[in-house]
Amino acid sequence: MAALVRTIWRLGPWGSGFCLLLLAFVYWPFFTLIGGAFKSTPFGGTFTLSGFSTVFGNVATYRAFGVSALYSSIVLVISISIGLAFAFVTARSAARAARLLVPAMVLIAAIPRLFFAVSWGMIGAPRSGLIANVFQAFGRDLPDWLTVYSFGGLVWVTVLKVSAAAYLLLLGPVLQIDRSLEDAAVMSGASRGRAVIQVSLPLLTPALVAVAMLMFVEGIQIYDFPALLAAPAGIETLSTAVEAYLNKETTPQWASATALSLVVVLMITLLLLLQARLVGGRSFTSIVGKARQTAAMEPSRWDWAISLAIGLFLVLALLLPLAQMVIGSLQPYFGMYGTYTLANYKAIFADGRQVVILMETLAMSTVGGLFVIAVAFIMAYVETRTSLRILRLFVRIASWVPATAPGIVLSLAFVWTFVSTPGLRTLYGSNILMAIALVVAHLPLAIRACEGIVAQVSPELEDAARMSAARPATVILSITARLCAPSLAAAWVLVSLAIAGALDVPLLLQSTRSQTVATYAYSLFNNGEVAQAAAFFLSYLALFLLMVAGLYLATRFYTSMRNQPRVAVASR
């Protein structure tokens, strides 16, 4: 008790307030989720174990486990192979197209999953889709096994999207490998290919294991792809199963949904702990030697093949989905090729409700994104700099807790929290609740990014500010945050996009008062108004990019004004 008082004393009002915030919005929802698994409904329910007995007594649960595990495993194997291969191309190949990889992969990773799902849902649709039309041009029907609404289609679309993430995660470790180690193998008589397999791959094992574990967890959490592509074919994964208990039954099965959620959270927690154990606190990059100065790459006779592979991948994962979205949004009715119109866009801006959703999502994602980055930055800062061991642990756990919950589970946890906490109940169904849940859901990724960003600022720069009589808040704001600003701004853009594109988190929290672009586009898509969904999504992206471009130009203008020379001093 005395230790607690002393800790609070050292934290001061701001530090204690921040910890209280984490306790209320990060820790507390998970406690209520645990409690909720033993209650019949959040609305004053009674104690029950029926949730667990239903979940464990249902064959569908085990099938969903199997589907999720199989789906995650196949996706991770294929996308890590693709990501690793392209990472080696970036590091080793002189092929021209290799230079496209980094920007293109960042773009693919940044585009919301829902956008991908909708777009590929259009490309691979049984009768009206692009592929089906190609078949029809040859006078045939799309064979059933080629439809995107299947397990195979689910894996295909997920791999296209997730390979970019695998590439970006593996690029750092691959670039770190000392090429002279491979050269040594070549001088010992091995071929280039054998050198990569026998020398570089073993060196990459820790990084590969770590990335694979993260991707497996991500595969279990993914909601949008299975919801759009697998659910119509009657295939359920763990995250769609949770949702099914609430939305597909005659009355919402709160206890069962929460019990299944808890099982999933426990499973992911175990996986993340195992991952931390395997990585053993080492950073990915510490495993290999000093990188050699990048020598000019030798052209090889396989460069054309490499360029072809890159081109093919970029067409499938980037150009085709983008083109399909644009073309689809211009069709008067999805699948009607040949006539193009702006009617879908006009309809959006003529409908007050849709404009409100666009604007509210823009506000929620940008302001929410700002909150995410601010909180993540503070948490990463505290984690790296504090000398209070208990505080570091508190923040560290808080930074991982939301990562254990799929978005759908997180939103369920927030429903429990907000409905069962008297003062907060009024927020239920409002944009504020939605925004809070979206912020918490995107914290883990942002914190991981901020840890890397904060680590780049030498502590000596902060010490120098403190020795210059700057208070701690001034040190953080005018030195550390200011130096991190460009990276933080980039992270903010990515997080804001992710928030707007998140489908699973708002799904249980939305009401007629609060909807986001993602949930609205999803409902349009599900109601068969596919062309409108595409137009709606593209309108949002255009608005968002316009705003980012405006902010960028404003910042450029501001800095160029500030960097005018101080004529008065210089001339004296």
Binding site: R6, E460, A464, A568, V569
Partner: protein, 365 residues
Amino acid sequence: MLLTSDTPTAPSIWISALRKFYGDTEILKGIDLKVPVGTYLCLLGPSGCGKTTLLRCIAGLEHPSRGRLDLQGRTMFHETMPVPVPAEKRGLGMVFQHYALWPHLKVFDNIAFPMRQKRASSGEIETRVSDLADLIGLRPLLDRFPGQLSGGQQQRVALARALCIEPSILLLDEPLSNLDSGLRNQLRRELRNIHDRLGMTSVMVTHDQDEAMALADMIAVLHEGAVVQYGSPAEVLFEPATRYVASFVGYDNMLEGIVTDLAAGRTTLDLDGTRVTMQSSGRFAIGERLAIALKSRDVSLTSAPRGNHIATTVGRVTRLGSSLEIEIRAADQPLLVTQSADAAPAPKAGEHLFLQLPDTAPLLR
């Protein structure tokens, strides 16, 4: 612009029984130091001896685990205090090893930063920064960013920033170690000049004994977290307190012997049969084992015995540029002698010569 403390008699820095632990490891093992106002103090020692930790404890960037620290008569840390005075409220200036200039601020704004923290008016800031720019020779650089400066210029900016709020104590963490030797000597002279002109107390961490000898009024030699000698440069250089200090300040030979006779100011030693008498103010006992500390360049070999001497056999002779490094054996102990290559005919291996011992050489337990 003379800076004095409120109570001129109190030491500027008063450290007593200061200890610092990292987990179970004791980094500082009970440091006691009193530094008078206006002193240039060097904390001297090899890396890992705790000198930087001690400096950071004075700065307030780290806090001791035990003991007490007073600066300018104000208690900054005491083991009974609930919260030590934080770094930003101690009113000190500090120059960092890697300069620690903020890359997003121009030189002017880097220097002005401490004054802005004190909400000084822009007029005051302009005057102060331009005074400092003249003092340290930065006038043409004020409009540049730190990334556009050379190492020496960056260190000058760091110094100007540390001096900006006219601190009564200036802390310097190896400020010269990242500069090439010509620049280092120049900046070293400037440091001492500025110290003398502004009259503050300076504490500098260094591992370079020549730098410490040239700059300091007082030197504290640290070894494994403890101050092993605290004295003037001459005391440290000519009367090293321990074998460790002696070897650190350049005594690279230790000739072991046993005390056989003591007289006023004189000590006679037996070196494996040879007797030598040294000047010494130390209090030793007959029969005690002592070492005569010798610098290889302060001893010489002769063919005829003269003064304090001992017979030696020459071993390997190595030519190092303009000097000779001669390995010899005396009193059955290996020793090194360095002499100019062109002064005398070089000794040959196996030759029997006499080693002349300066009778003021320090005697160490």
